[in-house]
Amino acid sequence: MSWELKNDRPIYIQLIEQIQLRIFSGVYPAGSRLPSVRDMAQEAAVNPNTMQRALARLEEDGLVITHRTSGRTVTEDEKMIEKAKTQLAKEQIMEFLEKMKMMGLERKEVLSIIQNITEEGNV
């Protein structure tokens, strides 16, 4: 998975999302140890302080745990990961629905388009 950063939004917010994606998809599995801040920063080609900031936020939310001596790990609490995943999904869907609204589509129409696509087996 490569780090994709767009240039119109704060970098640390995008890093939070990208790390979450890696946790949800199992690149960083529950309970596993995260690379050092510097290594993660280098991989994403961002400033270490910005990476640090993103990790601090994830720590506040409980997804990431800092150990005094041995660096950071992903939480072992699968329920918490599931909850965060649903939260991120909700945000993405809200954003999507907002766009559909701008296109003048009603919820019903949107739902039927989604249904058609899934039935056609394109997804």
């Binding site: 240039n7 939004r9 640390y12 917010i13 280098q42 080609a45 961002v46 400033n47 302080n49 910005t50």
Partner: protein, 232 residues
């Protein structure tokens, strides 16, 4: 803590032309800072004053509380806009030269970086392309464990793939609590690695802000903001 770089009322005039006009500035430790401005805005003048290659017309500049001199040069690793290295020297001779000269030079690091960029240490500088010379010079500069790295246009002459490598080199090699100041106008390439930016124009500081501040307050990239502010 004492800022790594501080300017107080710093002014530099070349004859009648004012290159820097009464600048006040503080840069803290452990940061990567972009010094951004159009051509002739005063970027290189500021960097040269920090290196004692120029002396102020009035005002002061301090490196960790000290005026530029022998002691501050130990702390600063400087990449000038133009090369000063001897063309006839081979890369391994240059490495020897640098490690004799600077106590904080890490030879091993230098050879590692040469290897990953496929540069042969036995090659003389004069046999290399402009871009490769620039890479060698950057390797020499980043192999020091300095408190302050002053990089004047480090990515100007190299291709985009090498730019990425160079940015990663900067990220992975600067000392933990060291500060990196990068002057450039290739903003979109470097803005992800910056903590904050200093916009400088006609010898004056136009703005200092963190990259994420600019993005969340103005909803645009540093590059876009720069184009707007310095529109010709």
């Amino acid at each position: 803590m004492t800022p790594i770089l501080e300017c107080r009322g710093l002014t530099k005039k070349y004859g009648r032309k004012t290159a820097l006009d009464n600048i006040d500035l503080k840069v803290e430790r452990g940061q990567i800072v972009g010094l951004l401005g159009p051509n002739g805005s005063g970027k290189s003048t500021l960097i040269k004053l920090a290196n004692e290659l120029l002396t102020p017309t009035s005002g002061q500049i301090f490196i960790e509380g000290l005026e530029p001199g022998v002691e501050t040069k130990k702390k600063i690793s400087y990449l000038p806009e133009r090369t000063y290295l001897n063309d006839w020297m081979k890369v391994h001779q240059l490495i020897g030269f640098f490690s004799d000269f600077y106590e904080d030079f890490n030879k091993e690091k230098a050879y590692d970086m040469l290897k990953s960029l496929n540069i042969n240490p036995g090659d003389p500088l004069k046999s290399m392309s402009k871009g490769t010379k620039e890479k060698v010079q950057l390797i020499l500069v980043m192999s020091r464990e300095a408190d302050l790295y002053l990089l004047d246009e480090p990515i100007g002459g190299v291709d985009p793939a090498a730019r990425d490598y160079i940015l990663r080199t900067i990220l992975s090699n600067y000392k933990e609590d060291g500060t990196v100041i990068i002057s450039t106008h290739l903003i979109s390439e470097i803005e992800n690695i910056l903590d904050y930016v200093i916009f400088i124009n006609q010898g004056k500081i136009h703005l200092t802000a963190s990259v994420d501040e600019i993005r969340s307050d103005k909803g645009k990239s540093v590059d876009a903001l720069f184009r707007e502010v310095f529109k010709c």
